[in-house]
């Protein structure tokens, strides 16, 4: 047995789980901050982004080291190459939490308008995808990965619906345009978060099955 190698793989796995749990925290807090315009929380999310960036770099270095020194093959190689892809998507989702937080700060400073009706539904659908995709990695759960891939269409549909509603809102009262644009950016970021969650699910599937069909 390659005890040293297996220990290195386990450490790598733990670091990705750590990165995933920080992402879950930011995602959950972003949802609360958006709902309550909590600027303190929004700022914390923005600050936390550096932590994710550092973890990404650290995991990249670990992966490169393992490839150089251990020459992994088969399931090990698939796991390490998918981790290198997955952490980029985790980092992007965390960026988008921070980007949304910037818009929460902007919205908090403006007169309140009625949030789009379907926004909570879109947020819920995206949140489930992010949590399931991290879980599918942690638990090596192929079914969960498939569920995430299927769910992306739901988020896309909400995006179209909400965009339409925001256009209507601005058409009815042009003074709501600044808030409308903020919400438009936010839903675009939410839609992208779901796309990155889907990417992660696809790389999990590759790691588990060798299937390299990417959407």
């Amino acid at each position: 047995m390659r005890q040293n190698f297996i220990a290195q793989l386990e450490e790598l796995n733990q670091d990705v789980i750590k990165m995933g749990s920080i992402l879950e925290l930011s995602t959950n807090e972003m949802i609360v901050a958006l709902d309550s315009f909590d600027t303190k929380m929004a700022n914390e999310i923005i600050d936390r982004d550096d932590e994710i960036d550092l973890l990404e770099q650290q995991i990249e270095r670990e992966c490169i080291n393992i490839i150089a020194k251990q020459q992994p093959l088969a399931s090990d190689l698939r796991k390490i190459t998918s981790i290198m892809k997955i952490i980029t998507d985790i980092e992007r989702i965390a960026d988008q939490c921070a980007d949304i937080s910037e818009y929460i700060l902007k919205l908090a400073a403006m007169p309140k308008v009625k949030a789009p009706v379907h926004l909570p539904d879109m947020i819920e659908a995206m949140k489930v995808m992010v949590i399931d995709t991290i879980d599918s990695f942690v638990e090596s759960d192929l079914e969960k990965a498939r569920k995430v891939m299927d769910a992306d269409d739901v988020v896309d549909a909400y995006f179209t619906k909400i965009t339409g509603a925001l256009i209507e809102m601005i058409q009815e009262d042009s003074k709501t345009a600044p808030q409308g644009v903020c919400y438009l950016m936010i839903v675009k970021y939410l839609e992208r978060m779901a796309d990155h969650a889907t990417n992660i699910a696809e790389w999990n599937r590759f790691s588990l099955t060798g299937d390299l069909t990417l959407g």
Binding site: M1, R2, I6, Q71, P72, L73, A74, S75, L77, G210
Partner: protein
Amino acid sequence: MNDITKFSVSDLNLFYGSFQALKNINMDIYKGKITAFIGPSGCGKSTFLKTINRMNDLIEGVTINGTVTLDGVDIYKEMDAISLRTRVGMVFQQPNPFPMSIYDNVAYGPRIHGIRKKSTLDEIVEKSLRQAAIWDEVKDKLKKSAQAISGGQQQRICIARTLAIEPEVILMDEPTSALDPISTLKIEDLASELKKDYTIIIVTHNMQQAGRISDKTAFFLTGEVIEYGDTEQIFNKPSNKKTEDYITGRFG
């Protein structure tokens, strides 16, 4: 291009006395490809390699049943060992140049086969040394003893000696295990070059080597072929758990 079968092995069993070293091997080996045999020590991969050019014939107490055909002809029933080995050359783990000059090493086989004319022998020696990617290194010292050059060079002389009788198949039994990394890479490049004209079968303990140079890989374990397929598939996604465990180092 469809794969052309060079060797076809059916229901092959080999016993050393009562010990069964090869169990029901069925395998087609394809022309113009490099096929790697991998597996832990004692798994039967070298025994199988030797079976392909009948080097087990003289070992006492060996019983072989099943069939091995070369271009459709049974090598045990329809061919004598000498003509078989003219077509199927072998390179061993330790470079084993004869205690004679570089030139005489390479000319040895052709001379045995009755070639006496100096100009013809010169041509064969040069061609073989060029094919073995060592001509430039030894062309000015052909009269020098083949044992007075480096291990990596000796191994390429042995390959040239094998090529000199123009075989169709080259068997390599861990040909780089005694060589440094640079010489190893030279032999690997050479094997990739030679597969244009020859069918190559290589036994190796170096998994990365099998991955680097072979088109097909067979994984042996306790005398059985556990998995045989395209190298890309075996190294990325083996279908058998035992293969996966072996190549990821979780075996034993």
